[in-house]
């Protein structure tokens, strides 16, 4: 009644009293929980213990080790809470064994049913994991418990149990074993967070109960969802990438436009400092070239072709191929996450920004420095003047060589003739 009368009063008072009421509730629940935890646990007082722990009814009865239950998060539950069928006579294993976790865990159960694992289970594929395959049975622990099979520490091993099993991957047409193993070489696995656990584990990217294959549009790792998936941790990078022409193109429905994984790799993601990383300064030209040297893509989307070959003709391109990382690579001029076309005023290669971009490495660069074409295509279709100089030198050197060789050969023949004549006379 007190509460009702408060309702008509000012909201602040109402909130206060509500808070007061809920605190009492919480106090009650938590006290009960603590008392329950310290008192003789329910599982031990259960009727089931007589047969299933103490083995009173002979060896045909399945025995349960209480040790596991004691440490379980479910230690406050009765056997019958999970094994609903056990209370119904006759007391058969067919009835007693099935456990419906969804009775309590409604949300997770719904998610699981939609996942690829749930769908496969529904189809009767016994190899697909059910709740207990990942979480365990009697010894079930909270995910935050380091001893839990689904703890971040252990989840990799848990997923790999099936995903590096060659029989399973072959039977269900799953990605190759090395694809999964390569994760263990990645920065996500090797770089440890504050808890000394891998920076990102399977479930961080793929989700846990909601897991779906990458080609499913609802999958976390579907290409259209990749930026938001990676953005869960790499929020600044995601924000910058969202500005880029790559993402703008992808949003327009151009599926060839790159998302995070196209440049960084998937399981094999490596730190930029790692020489094997696709985004290492030495490797970046090849990574960009997968699209920007492709005739097919440059014609399809009207983007400039031959970006790699014209870069490799320059000193920048030659030096980087031999491991000199001080020279400019693609990203040095074009940026990386927020890549924009030259026409965009925010782009580092926009004519208005070029002086600033060049002078990052060439201090003293001025307006004139930044003028002119950088990706020089020396061909009759590209830079005609430069091409003409090259052709002139090819001809000039050839003629010079021919002239010298002619003179040398004629001289050798003369000497032979002279020595013949000298011998005769």
């Amino acid at each position: 009644m007190q509460l009702n009368s408060n309702k008509s009063k000012r909201g602040r008072v109402m909130t206060k009293s509500l808070l007061y009421k809920s605190s009492i509730q919480w106090f009650g629940v938590s006290t009960a929980f603590v008392i329950l935890s310290f008192c003789t646990p329910l599982y031990a007082s259960s009727k089931c213990v007589e047969c299933h722990v103490k083995g009173k009814n002979g060896p045909d009865v399945r025995l349960i080790d209480l040790k596991f239950l004691k440490n379980s998060v479910h230690r406050a539950l009765e056997c019958i809470d999970c094994h609903e069928g056990a209370g119904v006579e006759p007391h058969t294993s067919e009835k007693a064994l099935p456990v419906n976790c969804g009775r309590c865990h409604v949300k997770y159960n719904e998610e699981y049913k939609k996942s690829i694992h749930g769908q496969a289970q529904a189809k009767g594929i016994k190899d697909a994991p059910s709740c207990s395959d990942c979480h365990g049975t009697h010894g079930i622990r909270a995910a935050s418990d380091p001893l839990s099979s689904v703890n971040r520490e252990n989840i990799t091993q848990l997923c790999l149990k099936c995903h590096i099993d060659s029989d399973i991957t072959a039977q269900y047409n799953l990605p190759g074993i090395n694809f999964f193993k390569s994760y263990q070489e990645s920065a996500h696995y090797k770089i440890k967070g504050t808890t000394l656990q891998p920076a990102a584990v399977c479930s961080d990217c793929h989700g846990s109960h909601t897991i779906l294959p990458a080609d499913d549009p609802f999958s976390f790792v579907n290409r259209k969802n990749i930026p938001s998936d990676c953005g869960k941790c790499h929020s600044i990078e995601k924000k910058r990438y969202s500005m880029s022409i790559h993402w703008k193109a992808f949003e327009k429905g151009i599926k060839d436009a790159p998302v995070c994984t196209d440049c960084h790799g998937e399981h094999t993601i490596l730190d930029v400092q790692n020489p094997n990383s696709q985004i290492n300064p030495v490797k970046i030209p090849y990574t960009c070239a997968r699209c920007h040297e492709s005739l097919k893509l440059s014609e399809a989307y009207r983007i400039p072709p031959k970006r790699l070959s014209t870069y490799f003709n320059t000193y920048h391109g030659i030096a980087i191929r031999f491991g000199d990382t001080t020279v400019a690579n693609c990203a040095s001029c074009h940026g990386y996450h927020e890549i924009l076309p030259a026409s965009d005023p925010r782009s580092p290669i926009n004519p208005a920004n070029l002086v600033k971009t060049c002078s990052r490495c060439h201090p003293g660069a001025n307006e004139n420095f930044a003028k002119g074409r950088v990706h020089v295509d020396v061909s009759p279709k590209g830079e005609k003047g430069v091409f003409a100089v090259r052709v002139f030198y090819i001809i000039f050197i050839s003629v010079l060589c021919a002239g010298f060789l002619f003179h040398v050969i004629a001289d050798i023949l003369r000497q032979r003739r002279e020595s013949r004549e000298g011998r005769r006379s």
């Binding site: 030659i318 031999f322 491991g323 000199d324 950088v374 003047g385 430069v386 030198y393 010079l400 040398v408």
Partner: protein, 232 residues
């Protein structure tokens, strides 16, 4: 210092110490520049990659190249001083002046070489062969030095030059390198060390040459040294 034309023990001094120092410094620096330059130019090939490896990678290769570029420039300054401000150098330069005689000599040699008719012309110290290599190297090295400095100080040069000149500069520097290499290895090395008196003529180190050989191959020069007379 012994003068050019000094005769001792049937041999004559053709190249003074000045000339020999200039020549050796030029030789060493041009070989080093060629080896480090071709490593960059032919980086696509097995040869280029091999050269790059033995030169300690891209960065160190560049340092070697620029070091010898400085040596070459110092040698050029020495040579300019020698030809302009010393009597000896000036005389030698005048002997290298191209003239109509070179054209007639060239055709006479060609006629004699190809048909066997006529006779070899009476050569002076520098024939058209030496003049081609000297002036070839002068033009080539001048272009190399100019383009080389433009490429070395790329920021400075690009602040004043259009980009297309810079692109051409790179091509010219590489092509002139090949031309110099051809002049020196296909022309100069054959004429001096293979098609000449003997394999590896050591005259460029000692400066001395046999009078008998000189009498046969360079009669005019021989006469100048011996005062026109026979047998000294």
């Amino acid at each position: 210092m012994k003068k050019i034309g000094t005769i001792e023990n049937g041999r004559v001094l053709r190249f003074s110490l000045h000339m020999r120092i200039q020549h050796i410094v030029l030789m060493v620096s041009l070989i080093a520049l060629a080896v480090t330059g071709f490593a960059l130019k032919y980086n696509d090939s097995v040869l280029g990659r091999f050269l790059l490896t033995i030169e300690g990678g891209m960065t160190f290769r560049g340092m070697i190249h620029r070091f010898f570029a400085v040596i070459l420039v110092l040698d050029i300054i020495y040579h300019l001083w020698y030809t302009v401000f010393t009597d000896e150098g000036h005389r030698e330069l005048m002997l290298l002046k191209p003239s109509r005689k070179d054209v007639t000599e060239f055709f006479a040699v060609m006629r004699y070489t190809l048909t066997g008719r006529g006779s070899k012309p009476e050569f002076d110290k520098y024939t058209y062969r030496e003049k081609i290599q000297y002036w070839g190297v002068v033009v080539g090295v001048s272009i190399m030095v100019i383009t080389g400095f433009l490429l070395w100080f790329e920021t400075a040069s690009m602040t004043v030059m259009p980009k297309w000149i810079f692109d051409i500069t790179g091509i010219v520097h590489g092509a002139e390198g090949i031309i110099l290499f051809i002049i020196l290895f296909l022309w100069h090395a054959y004429n001096v060390h293979i098609g000449g008196k003997q394999f590896f003529n050591t005259s460029f180190i000692s400066g001395w040459e046999d009078l008998d050989y000189l009498k046969k191959e360079r009669p005019l020069e021989y006469k100048r040294y011996t005062g026109g007379g026979e047998g000294v």
